[in-house]
Every structure is written in structure tokens, then in C-alpha cells.
């Protein structure tokens, strides 16, 4: 079952197209990473899913509802990098103020989060560092054990230690919630995301399980006995390059038998073939460069 869905979603800001024909599904229980370069439309999708912005065309369903009422919002934790907080409140008052809004608020969990994040209870939010503020926002969004956690660039500009603490806090909730996270921090995301969606210029290029993505992307290095790069390479081979007798490319639909058969068909009998898995960051960079080249 999908906890979040978009149907042919489109959004324009005056004449600028931010999203176009977006169909995205986030399965229940997943940790879904929404990746894409700056301006790809990640924040716009999230804001439409959270009913903060209205779409120009299409619609969304969050927790099965097109329009979020307070009842749905009681089950959603939302944290964004540029959220405006009630700066005059102390951390303790902020938590106490939010408590009555959530029937599932768990005092013990709230205490635990405050301790875990080492948040100073009597300090006003305006006097907290950026990292601390993000921790306070996350603590206030996890204390009621939400069914869905939506995070928009939560790690942006944070030092590694704070990032680790936030991820740790998040992972403790991952077992009981679906998480949608948009981030540039691909290395961090890779460690805990179960699904990934790639947005480019307002379009969804792919959306799949992380294991499937990792399995289908391979960096291939072929050492040949002769020079020359043949034409008509398979379209799934991205960024092909050649130096001396070595050909390198990224296979975006890797299947060992088929890839090897294609290599033999194009290069004859190579001296050696090296096939290596790729981290998410390398996959992302490959896709971005391939898109730019195609454009």
C-alpha cells in the first residue's frame, strides 16, 4: 500500500514549470529518498503533498486523503530546513505547547528525544544553533510517533556529528513510520533509505527500491587488445569513455549475462573486464551528467 501518491502532478510559478506530469508512489513502511539537483522540484513536491502549496494540475494523496485535515496532520511529522519556528518559545515550552495537539503524544519518548539530542530545555529557540533548531524540530515531530515523517533537506548545512545524531533519532522511528526525505546528502541517505526517487527538472526519472537501483547500476571497465570505441553502444551504457586500450562506462541496466554478451559482441574477446558496484552519489552524478549531455 502506498502512503503517499501523486497523480500527473504539475506546478507552475508564473511561467516557470516546477513540476510536470509527476506520478510518484511512496510505499508504506519505506524510507523513501527523493533526490535531485537544486531546482529539480523536490521541495515543491513535498509542499504540495503537505498541502502547503496548491498544484497547478493533477493531485496528491497523503495517507489516502487529497486534503489534509488536522486528523491526518496528527499522524504526520514534518521538518524542513527553512521552517519558521516560534522563536520566543523555550525548548520545553515548545514541546509542552505542541503536546495537546497530538492524542498520541508520548511523554517518555519526548523526554528520551530531548535527552538524546541534548537539547537545553530552558533555552529559547531563537538562541539555538541551526543544528540544535533542527533537532528541536525533529524531536517535536517524533514525540507523537507519527505514521509518516516528511523531511525536506534536514541535513543541509549541518556538521557531521549533528547529522549522525539526527539520523540516529530518525532510525529509531523508522520501524514504525514511513519516511519521505529529500536531501543532497546522498552518502547519508544511502545508509538508511529503502527506496529512491530521482527528480530532474520537475520530472521523475525513476523511482525504485534502493537494492534494485544498486543492483542495476555498475561501473564497468573493459581492457582491450586493440584501440577504438565502436559506435552503436547500448543506450543503457552511460558516460562511455576510452583511454588507450581501456573502455569505461556505467551500465544503468546491469545484468551480468547480458552485459557480458554485449561486451563480447562489441569488443570481441577483451583482455579483462572489471565490474564494480556504485555508491548512490556516483549513480546520481552519472545520471546528472548524462542528462546534461543529452540536453
Amino acid at each position: 500500500m502506498n502512503i503517499l501518491r501523486t497523480f500527473d502532478l504539475g506546478k507552475k510559478f508564473r511561467s516557470a514549470v516546477a513540476l510536470e506530469g509527476l506520478n510518484l508512489s511512496v510505499p508504506e513502511g519505506s524510507v523513501f529518498a527523493l533526490i535531485g539537483s537544486n531546482g529539480a522540484g523536490k521541495t515543491t513536491v513535498i509542499k504540495i503533498l503537505m498541502n502547503i502549496l496548491q498544484p497547478t494540475s493533477g493531485h496528491t494523496e497523503t495517507l489516502g486523503r487529497r486534503k489534509l485535515s488536522p486528523r491526518e496532520l496528527q499522524q504526520i511529522g514534518y521538518v524542513s530546513e527553512n521552517q519558521e519556528m516560534p522563536e520566543w518559545m523555550t525548548v520545553e515550552y515548545f514541546m509542552a505547547y505542541l503536546k495537546p495537539f497530538y492524542p498520541t503524544w508520548d511523554d517518555a519518548r519526548a523526554e528520551e528525544l530531548l535527552r538524546q539530542f541534548e537539547l537545553p530545555r530552558d533555552r529559547k529557540l531563537k538562541h539555538l544553533s541551526r543544528g540544535m533548531k533542527m533537532k528541536a524540530a525533529l524531536a517535536s515531530s517524533l514525540a507523537y510517533r507519527p505514521k509518516l515523517i516528511v523531511l525536506d533537506e534536514p541535513f543541509s548545512g549541518l556538521d557531521p556529528l549533528v547529522r549522525d545524531e539526527l539520523i540516529e533519532g530518525l532510525l529509531e522511528s523508522a520501524s514504525e513510520a514511513t519516511i519521505l526525505i529529500s536531501s543532497h546528502d546522498l552518502a547519508e541517505i544511502e545508509s538508511f533509505a529503502s527506496h529512491v526517487g530521482y527528480l530532474d527538472s520537475g520530472r521523475l526519472r525513476f523511482s525504485e527500491e534502493m537494492t534494485a537501483l544498486s543492483a542495476r547500476f555498475r561501473e564497468v571497465e573493459v581492457t582491450l587488445d586493440r584501440n577504438g570505441l565502436p559506435e552503436n553502444l547500448p543506450p543503457t551504457w552511460l558516460r562511455p569513455e576510452k583511454s588507450a586500450a581501456v573502455v569505461r562506462f556505467v551500465d544503468s541496466q546491469f545484468d551480468e549475462a547480458r552485459t557480458m554478451a554485449d561486451i563480447r559482441r562489441l569488443f570481441g574477446d577483451p583482455r579483462s573486464v572489471s565490474i564494480n558496484p556504485m555508491p548512490l552519489r556516483s549513480i546520481f552524478v552519472t545520471l546528472e551528467k548524462a542528462e546534461r549531455k543529452a540536453a
Binding site: 488536522p70 496532520l73 514534518y78 521552517q83
Partner: protein, 472 residues
């Protein structure tokens, strides 16, 4: 309701300093009003603007604690019920502006010697009016802005535009029906503000709300400043239930006593006063008559060449010993034009004596239906000052000075059926005065109770206006 109270208590904690300052300002305001010095009463008027400005600021702080405009506020992804949020904000306004203002007004009236219990309905009504016409507008405006800087810029621009509209506006006196204009203004502002608040809290659609607010303010401002009094007088003549049937009252124009120009007008004089003798018959015993407005249309044949409508100060019915005449002002070029037809529309009110009191130097007298009046002398100037709680007096005050009757002496009568005027919550005790270089007291003040409002149309065919020219 539980959520509304929760948000309300958060706002109280957040805005405790602002609340303190507001209450302090209100106490100061009461003290300023209680100064008996008549001239210094102007201080209260100035201070009332300051108080209004602070309330506008307080409303902005209150609304922007959960700002409506923008897409980054923490609260919009939290389970707020919009009705609870709006209710919390309105409750705050009532508790920290409305109720203190009610108490301040009651204390002011009480300390000034007016009965609080007999004015309690008026006090509540007055509070409803200021909430509908002012405080809701402050809150609605605040929902359109993102922060205090934006709010400040918006407020300065709005006040500037409304001021310019007001500066080039029509006359303010409406012959006793000003209340219709004021209530119309309050109604437009109330409808626009309510629409903006409901729209913003339910939908958060600032662009549409800005259009609604601008339409409301421009509409109300144009209405209060540019609409003519004739429609209000017309409504009054049709819907005010007369206590005495005015159908027997006849008004007819008489020929001038002598014809021809009665002197030479100086070059610079562009307006000419005409004195048109009239006969009034059929007045029941003890019933008097005053004009609320006289509209004039001058025609060459059937074609209108000059008209003046909705200008109560430019024409009136004057009482002379044993007779009446209409005094109207017209442009000089019309008078000098030659034979014309004149159409006169008279909005009249029949009245009967309610009470007469003599005011002596240094004394204060209660004149029923006209307020509490006294004679004030400061230096070479003299005033007759009447004070009336929460609304302009319902009766017409007439003063006999040196054997000459001065109608509408204070020009303050309101035929409003309501217990409070639209602006009475800020300064609950209205002071109406007439000043002059002569000492008025002792003077006889007569309060006349309105019985019926009606209209009479008069036609003068082929007349030479110089025959009616009045040289002062």
C-alpha cells in the same frame, strides 16, 4: 474550544508585555478624558489615534504569531483547527481590547456623573460597533502581511491612500442622518474584514484576500467620503415611522417683497445667498419645523444648468418672527443669468418642544434629549457645551439669543434609533459645542423632539434670481 483556549493561553504568554502596555494606555486615556478642562479635551482625541495605532500593532503581533501568509510557518503543518485558531485570536481581542475598553468607557461615564446602568446597552452596542468597524479590520489586514516590516509599510500606504481620499471629500454634516453613513461604513468594513478573515483562516489564499480587503477599504472610504446625504434622507422619509402625520403640513413659496437687485456685489464674491420667502401652513398646535437639507436645481427651460444636492450647509429653512424663509447659496453666474426655473427639494422634520432650560454662567443643566449643557468662558471666548453619552443627542437643540432663534445650535442632532454611535467606544462622552466672541449665558436652551421626517418639492417658474438676492 479546548484548542482555542490552548492557543489563547499561548498568545497571552507571548504577548504579555504588549497586553500590559495596552492596559496602561487605556488607563491613561481614561485619566485624560476625565480632565474637566474643555479645551484640553482635544488631547483625548489625539490620544485616541495613538491608542488605535497601538491596537493595530497588537492585532498584528497577535495574528502574526501564527502568520497566514507564507509557506514556511511551523504551524501550517501542525494539526490546528482553523476555527479554533480564529476563535483564539478573536477571544484575545475581546478579552484584552474589548472588555478593558468597555470598562474604561463605563468608568469614564460613571466618573462624569452619567448612569452606567442606563447606558449599559449603549456600551455593549458601542463595543460591537468598534469591533465590527475597526478591530476586525486590523486583524484582517494583519493576515495579509508576513512580518512587522511588511505590516508597517502596508499600514502606512493604506492610511496614506485613505487620508488622501478623505482630504478631498464632501462635507461631513448630513442633517441628522450621518449615522446611516457611519453604519454603512461599518457594514462594508465588517463584511470585507469578515470575508478576509474567514477566507484566510479556512483557505490561506492571500491574493484573493488582498483584493477583498482593498475593495472593502476603498469601498467604505469612498462611501463615507463621497456618497450624498439625499439617499439617507430619502430612506428616512420612507421608513421612519412618524409620530404625527405630516400630510397636513403645506409649504409654499411666496413672491419676494420687492423686486430687483438690492445692491452691488463685490467683484470677488462668487457665491450669492438667496432668501426665498415661504408660507408654512397646517402645522399642528405645538409642532415646529426644521429643514435637514435643501436641494436646489436651476433650469433653463427643462435643461438643468446648475444643481446642488447633498450639501446640508448650503441651504436651510430660517425662522423669522411670524414667518419663514429659505436661505440657499448659488453661484453668482447663475443669479446673473436672467429668468430661470428653480426646483427645490426640502427634507423637513417636524418637532415638538420637549424641554427648555436656562443655562447661567458657571452652571450645568441637564437638557432632556440634548445632553448635559454648560456655559464655558475662556478668555474672550465663550462656549455652550453639551455632553451626551455614547451618541449624538436625539433631539434638536434650539437657542434663543437676543430674541433670535438659532436652530441646530450645536449641529449635532442624530436621528439614529441606536443607543450608540459608530465612533463612541473610543471617546464615550460626546462633546458638542458652539463658540463665539459673545457671552451666551444666560441663554434658553430648548430641546425639540423629532416627530416626523418628510419631503416637500417646490417649483418656481420663470423667476429672476436677483429678486431674491440677499446682501449681508
Amino acid at each position: 474550544m479546548k484548542q482555542a483556549l490552548h492557543i489563547f493561553s499561548k498568545d497571552v504568554r507571548h504577548l504579555r508585555w504588549e497586553i500590559g502596555i495596552s492596559l496602561l494606555l487605556m488607563v491613561t486615556f481614561v485619566l485624560i478624558q476625565l480632565r474637566r478642562d474643555f479645551v484640553r479635551h482635544a488631547d483625548a482625541a489625539v490620544f485616541s489615534y495613538f491608542l488605535l495605532a497601538f491596537w493595530a500593532f497588537l492585532c498584528a503581533r497577535l495574528i502574526q504569531a501564527e502568520a497566514i501568509r507564507g509557506d514556511r510557518q511551523f504551524w501550517i503543518t501542525r494539526p490546528y483547527e482553523w476555527r479554533s485558531l480564529l476563535a483564539a485570536k478573536l477571544l484575545f481581542m475581546v478579552v484584552f481590547i474589548g472588555i478593558p475598553l468597555f470598562v474604561a468607557d463605563a468608568v469614564t461615564l460613571g466618573m462624569e456623573g452619567f448612569s452606567i446602568t442606563s447606558n449599559v446597552v449603549g456600551l455593549v452596542w458601542s463595543l460591537i460597533l468598534i469591533t465590527a468597524g475597526t478591530l476586525l479590520a486590523f486583524c484582517a489586514f494583519a493576515t495579509l502581511t508576513r512580518g512587522l516590516t511588511e505590516w508597517m509599510l502596508g499600514a502606512v500606504m493604506t492610511v496614506g491612500v485613505l487620508y488622501v481620499i478623505a482630504v478631498i471629500a464632501n462635507e461631513k454634516a448630513w442633517g441628522g442622518v450621518e449615522w446611516m453613513r457611519d453604519y454603512g461604513y461599518v457594514a462594508i468594513v465588517f463584511i470585507a474584514s469578515t470575508a478576509v478573515l474567514l477566507w484566510q483562516y479556512a483557505r490561506r489564499g492571500t491574493a484573493a484576500a488582498m483584493v477583498m480587503m482593498a475593495a472593502g477599504w476603498l469601498g467604505s472610504s469612498l462611501f463615507i467620503n463621497y456618497s450624498h446625504s439625499s439617499w439617507a434622507l430619502e430612506l428616512e422619509t420612507r421608513f421612519f415611522k412618524p409620530e404625527v402625520d405630516p400630510s397636513s403640513i403645506r409649504v409654499a413659496v411666496r413672491s419676494p417683497a420687492e423686486r430687483g437687485r438690492k445692491g452691488v456685489l463685490p467683484e470677488w464674491q462668487q457665491a450669492v445667498s438667496l432668501a426665498i420667502p415661504v408660507d408654512i401652513s397646517g402645522l399642528p398646535e405645538g409642532v415646529d419645523l426644521i429643514s435637514d437639507q435643501v436641494d436646489v436645481a436651476i433650469m433653463d427651460g427643462r435643461k438643468e444648468i446648475w444643481a446642488r444636492e447633498g450639501r446640508p450647509g448650503s441651504g436651510y429653512l430660517e425662522h423669522l418672527p411670524g414667518s419663514h424663509r429659505l436661505l440657499v447659496q448659488v453661484d453668482r453666474w447663475v443669479v446673473e443669468r436672467g429668468p430661470v426655473n428653480v426646483g427645490l427639494t426640502l427634507y423637513l422634520t417636524s418637532l415638538r418642544d420637549s424641554a427648555s432650560r436656562v443655562v447661567r454662567p458657571g452652571e450645568t443643566v441637564d437638557v432632556p434629549g440634548a445632553g448635559r449643557c454648560r456655559d464655558v468662558v475662556e478668555g474672550r471666548d465663550s462656549w455652550i457645551v453639551c455632553e451626551s453619552p455614547l451618541r449624538a443627542p436625539p433631539n434638536v437643540l434650539v437657542v434663543e439669543l437676543g430674541g433670535v432663534r438659532r436652530d441646530r445650535f450645536l449641529n449635532s442632532t442624530s436621528y439614529s434609533p441606536f443607543p450608540a454611535d459608530a465612533d463612541s467606544a473610543i471617546i464615550p462622552l460626546g462633546r458638542y459645542s458652539h463658540s463665539g466672541p459673545v457671552h451666551f449665558a444666560p441663554a434658553t436652551l430648548t430641546s425639540l423632539e423629532p416627530l416626523a421626517h418628510f419631503r416637500r418639492d417646490l417649483d418656481l417658474r420663470d423667476v429672476t434670481l436677483t429678486d431674491y438676492q440677499l446682501l449681508r
